[in-house]
């Protein structure tokens, strides 16, 4: 096998606690309890080890990272180590003074997520009154000299409002806007019947996004990616297993992708027990999907296998029962009918009779 490259991007999921209850959350259904979280020393060790290996981009994520009282300590250390660090946040738990403090400590940017462009829909999806505060925080981020990075997670309930979202972003003078299509993992998969957009919605959102990309060229960078369900080809998940990306879960479990916890027979390791470098280079889990030896047909002989690496293994497992199957979003997959069925269900029955499951700990038990 070719030489294993060092990780470049570390995602530190510092907690699964979150004041919001978004039903599209990609966190696992079994949220890590607060008492099992790594302590400050544990996170500092993670930052040191990953930086030494070569990680340069650092995302503080969660849950809601602002819940951690030691976030300031971690941010300061990240800057000292030379990371380019990003806070991925709902904005809840922050005020203008805390933003200013982050800036002084050397945090490089803040990505504020919105559930929608208006208060009613936003707060319905978030399960709490957060919209006005998010607006205030987006403005505070910009006012303190940061580039403003906004993220709208889009799905069936809000896809029709992409134009209004981009208008809001322009009004807030955003520098970057990510229209992030819901990935059907964790809570989002449990709520898929409510969240999967229809083909018409996807095409319209794409058209609107391209129109705004042209209109706001040079002012606002807009990222929009067509959902993999409608692409006929899978996405190269985390740019390839064990190639670039490394996530550390709140309890210290080291993950090749942030959903990897859901995969069977994958012996994942914890930073409490092993050095990150050993986990990245030597552990079975990180080598499991490296290279092509694991591939079956149609991936094994596919001329696109170096482009998408077989797609998302978590999706393959969740939908087909075997993570070494091709991601069923690929039209070449013998399981692609599962995706077509989900799309048909959405088209024929846009108002699911299942209750929408909001992300909160007591809802774990409502699921098998």
């Amino acid at each position: 096998m070719a030489k294993i490259p060092p990780p470049l991007w570390l995602l530190a999921e510092v907690t699964h606690s979150c004041p919001l209850q978004c039903p599209y959350c990609s966190n696992p259904l079994q949220l890590v309890p607060k008492k099992d979280e790594l302590d400050t020393e544990g996170w500092l060790k993670v930052l040191h080890q990953a930086r030494k290996m070569g990680a340069a981009q650092l995302g503080f994520s969660g849950g809601e990272p602002l819940v951690r009282k030691d976030l300031e300590v971690l941010i300061a250390e990240a800057r000292k180590l030379g990371y380019y660090s990003n806070l991925i946040t709902s904005g809840v738990g922050m005020d203008a003074a805390r933003v200013e403090k982050f800036r002084e400590l050397g945090l490089d940017h803040i990505q504020v997520s919105f559930q929608a462009d208006d208060a009613t829909l936003n707060d319905y999806l978030a399960g709490t009154h957060a919209f006005q505060h998010k607006l205030d925080m987006a403005r505070a981020v910009k006012a303190s000299g940061y580039p403003m990075v906004l993220c709208f997670v889009i799905h069936r309930q809000n896809t029709d409002r992409v134009a209004q979202m981009l208008d809001l972003a322009a009004e807030l003078q955003a520098d970057y806007v990510e229209l992030a299509t819901t990935q059907f993992e964790g809570w989002a998969l449990a709520n898929r019947d409510h969240l999967l957009p229809t083909l018409e919605q996807v095409r319209e959102a794409e058209r609107v996004a391209h129109h705004y990309q042209e209109k706001l060229k040079g002012k606002m960078k807009i990222y929009y990616v067509v959902p993999d369900y409608y692409e006929n080809r899978p996405k190269a998940c985390v740019a390839g297993w064990g190639k670039v990306f490394l996530a550390v879960a709140p309890d210290g479990l080291v993950l090749p992708c942030h959903s990897a916890r859901s995969l069977p027979n994958l012996e994942l390791h914890n930073v409490r027990d092993h050095d990150l470098a050993w986990i990245w280079y030597e552990s079975k889990a990180f080598n499991y999907f490296r290279g092509e030896d694991w591939m079956k047909e149609p991936c094994r002989t596919c001329d696109e296998r170096e482009k998408d690496f077989g797609g998302c293994h978590c999706q393959a497992f969740k939908l087909t029962g075997d993570p070494t199957n091709a991601d069923p979003t690929c039209a070449k997959s013998p399981h692609h009918h599962l995706i077509e069925q989900a799309i048909d269900t959405t088209r024929l029955n846009p108002n699911s009779s299942k209750p929408l499951l909001f992300r909160k700990r007591q809802n774990n038990s409502n699921l098998s």
Partner: protein, 90 residues
């Protein structure tokens, strides 16, 4: 697009230019991304400090590399860098 020799380029807000030991390369970091820079690109960007004019940058590089006629290489790179949003003026 052209480059004014009296203009003063600087890194755009939110971008960080640094040496990466693990990659043995200069890189430019920005929200959600990283570019590995060629030696030439790194040499120019290291001088985009918001104080030097394009003219001064060319002169400095010509001195450092003991050569002449770098103005075209520098302006071409700066046009590319501006188009990418890495560099701003004033």
């Amino acid at each position: 697009m052209s480059v004014d020799f009296k203009a003063v380029p600087r890194l755009a807000g939110g971008y960080r230019f640094q040496w990466e030991e693990a990659q043995q390369n200069h890189v430019l970091l920005y929200p959600e991304g990283m570019v590995q820079l060629s030696d030439t690109a790194a040499a120019v960007l290291s001088l985009c400090d918001g104080k030097r004019t394009v003219e001064a940058i060319v002169a400095q590089l010509e001195e450092d590399y003991e050569t002449e006629g770098l103005d075209e290489d520098v302006t071409q790179f700066l046009m590319e860098a501006e188009a990418q949003g890495w560099v701003k003026y004033g």
